[in-house]
């Protein structure tokens, strides 16, 4: 796909809504795990994913407009999205397993670092999303998750607070992007034809 198509596609994702959803997801999982509400990690994505479309239609499309990309782009996206979903499910299953088994696994002192794994594993879909939507911001989020996971695990934190620590700066960046989009793109007052 050409350079112009890539720029048009990247512009489609520059509103920050997906960023806010990702940040809310990381924070919600972190908060629910902080209160030992493990199932919250499963409920959060299940609630957020179906909400994204209606939110985009309600808040973004009146400002940015609507576009349908080429068949080639749609095909590429579908296969990448499938891979992302599988990665996400795999990472989540691994995280939950490690979290549930953490006491048994903690027999080995080295596995105390396991507390950082949820953040590290969530960094994988974040990095993959960066590739999927061609924006570097998600690489920043992946880096924040990796840093929080590493530093938090070394400091002996639990997975929940580590995710909250990573989620706060992600939410700040995401909110800034979304606020800038709203400021620069007022709702179109109608078509002049």
């Amino acid at each position: 796909m050409g350079a112009i198509e890539n720029r048009v596609y990247r512009a489609y994702w520059n509103d920050g809504l997906l960023d806010v959803f990702a940040a809310v997801g990381v924070l919600a999982i972190g908060i629910s795990w902080s209160f030992d509400f493990i199932i919250g990690g499963a409920i959060t994505p299940a609630l957020l994913v179906p909400l994204w479309g209606p939110f985009r239609q309600r808040f973004i499309e009146p400002r940015l407009g609507t576009v349908e990309f080429s068949e080639k782009r749609e095909r590429t996206n579908r296969s990448r999205l499938l891979l992302l979903i599988l990665l996400g499910i795999g990472a989540f299953a691994l995280v939950v397993s490690l979290y549930v088994l953490r006491d048994r696994l903690a027999l080995d002192p080295a596995v105390s670092l396991i507390a950082g794994l949820p953040a590290l594993l969530l960094a994988i879909p974040a990095a993959f999303t960066a590739m999927l939507i061609a924006t570097g911001r998600f690489l920043v989020y992946a880096t924040l998750l990796v840093i929080a996971g590493g530093v938090g695990a070394i400091s002996g934190w639990e997975p929940g607070p580590i995710l909250v620590t990573a989620g706060i700066p992600i939410l700040l960046i995401a909110s800034t992007v979304l606020a800038r989009f709203f400021r620069n793109n007022p709702v179109a007052s109608g078509e002049q034809e």
Partner: protein, 104 residues
Amino acid sequence: MSHSDGIELPPIDELLHEPARLRLLVLLSVVKRADFTYLLNLSGMSKGNLSVQINKLGDARMVKIDKSFQGNRPRTMYELTAQGRKALRAYKKNMRAILAALPD
């Protein structure tokens, strides 16, 4: 000097040889279809100019215009037609030939 002695250059489609219309055709050539607001944001054109230029392309059947309502808001989708794609390809080919003939 008679007209037949003039230098022959590849024909340039004057409808396309206008920056705003060319920009719109290029944008539409890389997507399946887009609405007025999206083109407005991506082209950086004013509403009035976009409306005039896109309608000229529509009149020339280079762009298909599909008007509908989304809720109670009017929405117009634009799509490059086969004729528009062909014209854009010919324009690229002819411009390339002319530019290639220019000395450095």
